[in-house]
Structures are given as C-alpha cells and as structure tokens.
Amino acid sequence: MCLALPAKIISMDETSDTAMVALGEVNVEVSLALVEDVQIDDFVLVHVGYALNKISQEEADETLRLFAEAGLTGEADS
C-alpha cells in the first residue's frame, strides 16, 4: 500500500499541475499538487499517481557513501 517508486520528471504541464515521469521504461502522468519547486530532470517519489516528495541526489550519494564506509570497516575487521 505504501510502496512508492522514484521517477524522473520528463515534462511538466503547469495548467493541470501534472507531469510526465519516467518510471524505468514506462512514462506515466502524475499530479504535482503535493510538491513544490520541482523541475524537469528532478527525481520524485511517486505514489498513487502523485509525486510525494523530491528525492535529494546529494543525500542519496551520502547514504551510498555510508554503506561503502560500513563495508570498509567490515572488511578491515573480518
């Protein structure tokens, strides 16, 4: 029920407050009624036809860096 997928905005329609997003290979229309300050090429989290939030590339990179860091400790200790 609460599953949501990251999708990339490929075009926006200001009149209807909607966007076409690419969910992998598939393009779907989503509402932008719940988000602010998004633009083309941004990634948003899509849930029940709505963009819920913008995804932060910086934070994603930081989280991946943390995984790798934990991995390093893991390797060093094992």
């Binding site: 989290l45 934070e59 989280t63």
Partner: protein
C-alpha cells in the same frame, strides 16, 4: 532504475552484513520491530534475516492500513453498494480483503455491483466527471501517504463543482497506531514481547517528517531509525539500531535522508489540515 539498483547491490549487502556481524555483542539479543509491511517485504524478499547474526530478530509489526482496517468498514461499503446506485472507487489493495459473510468487494463486483479499482484519486474524479448522473464514492484508505491525495481530490471536486463525488473516509494516522502497539500489555509488560528498537516508516515519514518520532524515542526510551524500503536501507538501518543499542542511546536517526526531512512535506500537511478534521477514535 536510478535510486533502486544502487540500493540493492549484493556486494555492498555482504559488506554491510560483515559490518553488522562485527558490531553485535554476542551475548546480547536485538529484537527490532518494523512497523511497516514494506520493510517486512524487503526482509523476506531479499533474505535479509539470513544475512544477519542469529541474535538479531525482526519482529513484524502491524503492516499496513489495509490489514488494520476493521471489517465493519468494508461491510458498510458493501451495504452502500446494495442500497444505492453508486459507483464505488477504491485502490486495488482493498478488493480482496474479506468482509463479513465471506464477502469482499471483488465478490460483490462479480455479482454485479459497480466497484471500480483506481490507481489514483484523479482516476476517481475522472469517473465522476464521466458519470454526472451517478454518485461516485471514493473508499479512501491508508496512512499519511494516501491522505493528501484524498485531500487534493476533495479540493478539486469542490473547485470543479463536481457534486456527485463523495469520499468514504477511512484514513488513519501512524503515530496513533504505533502508540497503540507500544501501550499494548504484550509490549509494556516485562517478559512477553521485548522490543529493543524500531524501524520507522519510509514514505509516511516523507509526509509527516522525522520529528514526530522524537516523542516515541524519548517516552519509550527506545532507538528509532527511519529506514528506506530497499534491502541496503534496511541493513544500514539495522546497523544504526545495533549501534544505538550498544551505546545505550535512544534517538531518532534518519537513514532515508534522500526523501525524509525533519519537518516532512508541509504543503501536503497543510492540504490535509484544510480539508480534514482529526477524530480521536476510529471505531
């Protein structure tokens, strides 16, 4: 897909597993509860339990709003379908959920009731526009992720003078559900279910923000980590919980920073507040 594959990398998973193995204290038991079925799904689908040491145990929480929906609410929808000539729209999740007398929305649809499965509240509005002579009822369910889309639908229907659209509102709040679990005798009383830390919800938190959990960490003196739904997110969050438990800390930490902020989605919160009122009890 971006933001998905990176968070499922098997090599990184092995490294995280080693890191967790190195950090758990062998004599200690780590009982970690995930509230959300999304995490349970990741744990089983990717075999995360098997990657972790035996003294880390996942305790599966309440799951999802569909699982906790009282049967009476589906009975009410079925009665409505039988009494009035309505079109009932709802998310697919609800279709097979059993109602009383072995009924379900799927079964009454097969018997001729006009039940339409929708992907979005926008689809329900479209059905209302296309059927101006009939009443269209949206059976709204879900936690804080599906509530804002319902609020948008109500606002849109009002703005467009769509007078044949109504909402049967069954939205529930997660903090209340979590509190119910924490207050249950099984958890509160020593010796039955002991929980050492919590994985908190990914997408609900993107709306409500991480600060709402600060109360839980403080009140129940348990560590909380807001965790993403991908397998590496769950493993990293498990590591963060293990560290908090080892160090005797009980804080709210946010592993899912790429989506969840401290304050959440203020626009969505305001929309909900402008359309809905909080009811203290559900049943």
């Amino acid at each position: 897909m971006k933001y998905i594959e990176d968070f499922r990398d098997p090599q990184l998973a092995q490294k995280l597993a080693t890191a967790i193995k190195n950090e758990v204290e062998p004599d200690r038991q780590y009982n970690l509860m995930e509230f959300c079925g999304g995490h349970t799904h990741a744990i089983f689908r990717y075999g995360i339990q098997d990657l972790l040491p035996g003294n880390i145990k996942f305790i599966h929480g309440p799951g999802c709003p569909v699982c906790v929906l009282p049967t009476g609410r589906i009975d009410s929808a079925i009665q409505l379908l039988q009494a009035e000539d309505i079109i009932l729209c709802t998310y697919g999740d609800l279709m097979r959920v059993p109602a009383s007398n072995r009924k379900s929305l799927m079964k009454v649809k097969a018997e001729g009731a006009d039940v339409r499965m929708v992907f979005s509240t926008m689809d329900a509005l479209k059905i209302a526009r296309e059927n101006p002579e009939r009443e269209v009822v949206f059976f709204a369910i879900g936690f804080e992720t599906t509530t804002p889309p319902t609020a948008v639908a109500i606002k849109t229907a009002q703005a467009d003078n769509l007078n044949n659209f109504t909402v049967f509102c069954n939205h529930v709040l997660t903090p209340a559900a979590i509190q119910n679990i924490l207050e249950s005798p099984e958890v509160r009383e020593i010796g039955s279910v002991s929980i050492d830390g919590f994985f908190c919800l990914s997408h609900v938190s993107s709306i409500i923000g991480s600060q709402l959990y600060e109360f839980f960490a403080e009140e129940y003196q348990k560590p909380v980590v807001i965790a993403g739904f991908e397998p590496l997110d769950v493993m990293q969050s498990a590591l963060m919980l293990v560290r908090q438990i080892n160090e005797g800390r009980h804080e709210v930490e946010n592993e899912y920073r790429r989506v969840v902020s401290r304050n959440g989605n203020l626009k969505a919160q305001q929309l909900v507040a402008s359309v809905m009122e909080l009811r203290r009890n559900f049943e």
